[in-house]
């Protein structure tokens, strides 16, 4: 039975990691027109306890995309520099949409595993009810 609660915890950690990834994607998409905004991203990592892998997954530290910000010529913009250029954001809509879709699919997979584990454990409990 403790195997089942372990599986449930692992699937839940996967869902948590993917929803935080989706959150970062939403932040990036919301800030696609914010001047000087750098795309946020996070890498997943396996959780370890006393040097041993627990199987849980978590979203790692949030990092900023260091690619160069695009410069747009717009002298009428209030934030333009002396040359009349404004810094854009380095968010690529295509990448963000693809990332969001991937997060959704991976979330679904974890949810499916969660449901299946729950079904198996309730079948096991049904044996006791008889």
């Amino acid at each position: 039975m403790e195997g089942f609660s372990g599986s449930l915890a692992i699937s839940a950690s996967g869902m948590r990691a993917h929803s935080s990834r989706l959150r970062l994607t939403a932040e990036n998409l919301a800030n696609v027109d914010t001047p000087g905004y750098r795309r946020k991203m996070a890498s997943f990592e396996s959780e370890t306890k006393f040097g041993e892998s627990t199987g849980l997954v978590r979203s790692g530290e949030t990092r900023l995309d260091q690619t160069e910000l695009p410069m747009k010529f717009d002298p009428s913009h209030p934030m333009s520099d002396d040359g009349g250029y404004v810094q854009g954001s380095n968010v690529n809509l295509m990448i963000e949409i693809a990332d969001a879709r991937e997060a959704q699919r991976s979330y679904e997979v974890n949810l499916k595993m969660f449901e299946q584990t729950r079904k198996m454990s309730s079948e096991l409990l049904d044996l006791l009810k008889r």
Partner: protein, 133 residues
Amino acid sequence: MEGEAPLFADIKILENSSMMAQHASARQKLVSTNLANVDTPNYVPRDIAPFSDFIGMGVDLKIQPENSRIFDETSSESWSPKPGLLEGKPSGNSVSVEEEILKSVEIERQHSKALAIYQHAMDVLKISIGRGR
């Protein structure tokens, strides 16, 4: 009562079916782990051998996910996933979602099979002591 085969002394069928369910639960944990780490860089999926490999080895086996082995392309284990399905992604992760889902279906079937066997063996025992169902 020596020499006879007492019915209740060593009920192999209950032992085997509960071991089968334990195996399914341990394997389910590994499949959940693999799928939770589907986007973790440099993660290598883990698995334990199918139950049919365990059943011939006697009763003192321990089915724990900690005993799991990492099956990669270079391992010379007798049981390993097909290499064609393990094409690595650029992130160094080699989890195949399709294969894990197939495994999970197999596990679910094995688990309900084990529970059905256990339940029917129990029913037979109950009938034999006159309690009926």
